[in-house]
């Protein structure tokens, strides 16, 4: 019986799978330690040995569910237009919420300040990579952090709103409006630099530098010199 995975790991996976099944079928209240241990063919104390806590189990279930969701997102390959990629990611996120409402509520339903569930942190990190690509393309006009947090907040809001209405009368219009509004708020219409990478951005910034009145004249002079070095390095 010596597989590549120890008995502990096997039990861990079985418990998570059983808990996820119960969560999807009967909602949060159906996930009791007894029901989980029975469904996983394990004794109750095993849960506490492995996850320490029921909250630990729920966090693990959320992380696992979200990880599986990310795998399906890997199919989404960059289309060349990072904003269009963000739109596609948005739709997938909404679909994930509607397919796993209990899990989504677990991730975002009762926020505890400072104690972000690992699954939520992973989701935000993943979203940040989308935003970063938009910034690289020179089409972001707020900071990456603000953009990521804004999209994240509005996305979860749209998801919760959709979750709250009965399935037959869900209207994706609101989700689409929210998506478009948020994209309009963080992107510039014109795909700025023709040249990708630091060079294009440096050229664009150099051109717009006189308008950057927050910098002193001395700072602008030094900055302009650096920009010139970046441009010439290309």
């Amino acid at each position: 019986m010596e597989n590549d995975r120890s008995a502990g790991e096997r039990n861990r996976d079985r418990i998570i799978a059983a808990a996820a099944r119960l969560l999807q079928q009967g909602g949060r209240e159906a996930v009791s330690t007894r029901a989980v241990s029975a469904a996983a063919g394990v004794q109750a104390p095993a849960i506490y040995r492995i996850f320490g806590d029921k909250q630990g189990l729920l966090d693990a279930v959320a992380a696992h569910g979200f990880a599986r969701h990310l795998e399906s997102k890997e199919g989404l390959r960059p289309s060349g237009d990072p904003v269009e990629d963000l739109r596609a990611g948005w739709s997938l996120n909404i679909a994930f919420a509607l397919d796993n409402p209990a899990l989504y509520s677990l991730m975002y339903g009762e926020p505890r300040p400072g104690a972000t569930p690992p699954a939520a942190a992973a989701a935000l990190a993943f979203l940040t990579s989308f935003i970063h690509r938009i910034a690289e393309a020179g089409r972001l006009h707020v900071s990456e952090e603000h953009a990521a947090r804004l999209v994240h907040a509005v996305g979860t809001g749209a998801a919760f709103s959709l979750m709250s209405m009965p399935e037959h009368q869900r209207d994706l219009t609101v989700s689409d409006m929210a998506r478009d509004a948020v994209i309009a708020a963080i992107t510039t219409d014109a795909p700025a630099p023709a040249t990708p990478g630091p060079q294009g951005a440096a050229i664009a910034l150099s051109a717009a530098l006189p308008k950057a009145t927050v910098l002193t004249a001395g700072e602008r002079a030094l900055l302009d010199e650096w920009l010139d070095r970046i441009v010439r390095a290309g």
Copy 2:
């Protein structure tokens, strides 16, 4: 002992007050039927006679809390500009969520399709009246229903986002951005498209900065700081 309110009504209020107090102090898990009945000086079965259910009690607590919040909102009198009134209402809603996080989670944290808590329904109805006044002023360019649902969704998203971060590092910028984005999406007067100033280029360069190997680490650090100043100035 014959007051204008019957003993039942008096008990009802005391139970709700006790439950609300426990909820605010100890979060949702602190609200047990035993703790509530003890704090209210009432026997446990009284809760079930009055509210039928623990969920009924929680709904009543949420409705009461939101009603009290609405009273404070009554102070907000129409300023003549219905859009400006909506902005003020937005801020009050965010403040309500941050002041009563457990109650807010109760209202929106685990949506059950079709079973909207009375407090949430009241909130949406109240918001709808704001939207209606904007429509009357001829400044709405989507349907009232869509506008209300969109503002509601984005508002709760912003609230949950803020609730999830520790109090000392909360940044209302995201909430303001969400508010402005949603207002721009539903109202007519275009606030002029964002001019592609130095901000966009600065953000793009900041994203690509690690690739600018011609600069030393020290230069990159200082440059990043300047870029951040340029972005924030926008």
